[in-house]
Symmetry: C2
Subunit: 265 residues, 2 copies
């Protein structure tokens, strides 16, 4: 194929948004699916594959199914955790078969693709795909800013994971052809910076005794949802963590003074 779409966004003076897209496959069971996903990515112009704890990798079957996209497999980054796979990422999209019980906004691939292209202007964007059997965990979903659901036959919704990669990569390549980068309104903080804030927040809330009346897990999920919508900037992460630090210090000072005034306690 000569790919007219591709020629439109490949000139040297234009950004290559697809190069800022990272496909993350979580706990994939079948190595053939990893290979088929690599082939699906490459044929649509995607390059960066991340694998969280794949059951078998590297594997001859993966290479067989890659059918020439071996470079994608060779350069694949194998990670031990989702946070490792999302290192440096500024926007995470969770591919999900679920439409209910999801705390984030859910779009179709067609609706999401132009937005994903815009997000690549600020930094790496991750597409997160779950296991063949059960998809993404709640914890993994909680790391995403957007959910994408591929509409399927309600009587047979068993979409192969490599096929899901193929469809999403296709939508992105079509969106990339029409892509005009807008000036990013904010400079979003990287994944690990936001995770650092959540940890700090959870620790602080525990320290000030907030969780005595609240379910910590449920509360943290709601706070993640709130900040995920906001799209925190790096400076804002610093600001919020500053508030948390001061809160803890203030709390420590209070406790110290109390202990000084009530040495008998």
């Amino acid at each position: 194929m000569t790919g007219a779409h591709f020629n439109r966004y490949c000139p040297l003076n234009k950004p290559e948004p697809l190069n800022n897209v990272r496909v993350v496959l979580s706990h994939t069971s079948h190595p053939g699916n990893i290979g088929a996903a690599a082939r699906a990515m490459k044929v649509m112009g995607l390059r960066h594959l991340y694998l969280i704890n794949p059951r078998h990798f590297p594997d001859a079957l993966a290479n067989a199914m890659a059918a020439g996209a071996d470079d994608i497999l060779e350069n694949a980054v194998v990670c031990a955790s989702i946070d490792e796979a999302l290192q440096g990422v500024v926007y995470t999209v969770a591919m999900t078969a679920r439409l209910r019980d999801i705390s984030i906004e859910v779009k179709t691939p067609r609706e999401a693709a132009p937005q994903v292209m815009q997000e690549t202007s600020a930094g790496p964007v991750a597409l997160l795909f779950g296991t063949e059997m059960s998809g993404l965990t709640n914890e993994e979903m909680g790391k995403a800013q957007l959910g994408v659901n591929i509409p399927a036959n309600p009587e047979f919704s068993s979409l192969n994971v490599a096929s899901a990669v193929q469809l999403m990569a296709y939508e992105l390549s079509v969106a990339a052809a029409a892509f005009q980068p807008a000036l990013p309104e904010i400079t979003p903080a990287a994944h690990e910076r936001v995770e650092g804030l959540y940890e700090h927040l959870e620790k602080t809330l525990a320290e000030i005794g907030f969780f005595t009346t609240q379910n910590p897990e449920r509360l943290m999920r709601r706070l993640r949802r709130l900040y995920s919508r906001t799209r925190l900037e790096d400076e804002e992460v610093n600001l919020l963590r500053g508030i948390l630090s001061v809160t803890t210090e203030y709390n420590a000072r209070l406790r110290k003074r109390y202990q000084e005034e009530h040495p008998d306690v």
Copy 2:
């Protein structure tokens, strides 16, 4: 998945355009691809699979890759020729990696999908996929009214045939969700009726000695192209064949008279 798209076109009082779509795989080498294609079809709401001379079918690997879409495989129609596979079809789309040396109009999947949905109002529509190695033959391309090219990475355009089925089925399911049937402007003749005309035409042209100065194959390709654009109605096929019959009869009468007047020849 609950598939919001599907609910929009499934009410009983609306036509089900996807049910009038036929996926035709020509000379598929790997049975796994047939199974993966069946799964891809079913997950997007397509049902009708036709196989022209598959190398291995039925096959356990096909069923394994179908992952539950076994009914599509069980109901698959195995054919000995392309004309058998296109029996009753009113519109044929050739999936092609080529953009040059093609006598028919070529569109992207996104451009083609709404048109394909409209064509289903008149009768069965076929999507024609070639072999893994070499795609469709020129003869097969000649049976189609439209070419569809999936834009791909010019440096790696090796799209798996089941992935091509997946992408096209996806585009059709999205188009079906937005589908509003227009009143068909014409009642197109079925594939075999048009093929009957071409045969009759070729035979007649041979009889009247037209091919003595023309390459028959090239000429028939040009005539196919012409009539393919026109979208012949059933009545028009009758009309044209009537003209052909009269031409032959006139020719036969002329010859007879000539022989009577020149008994010495």
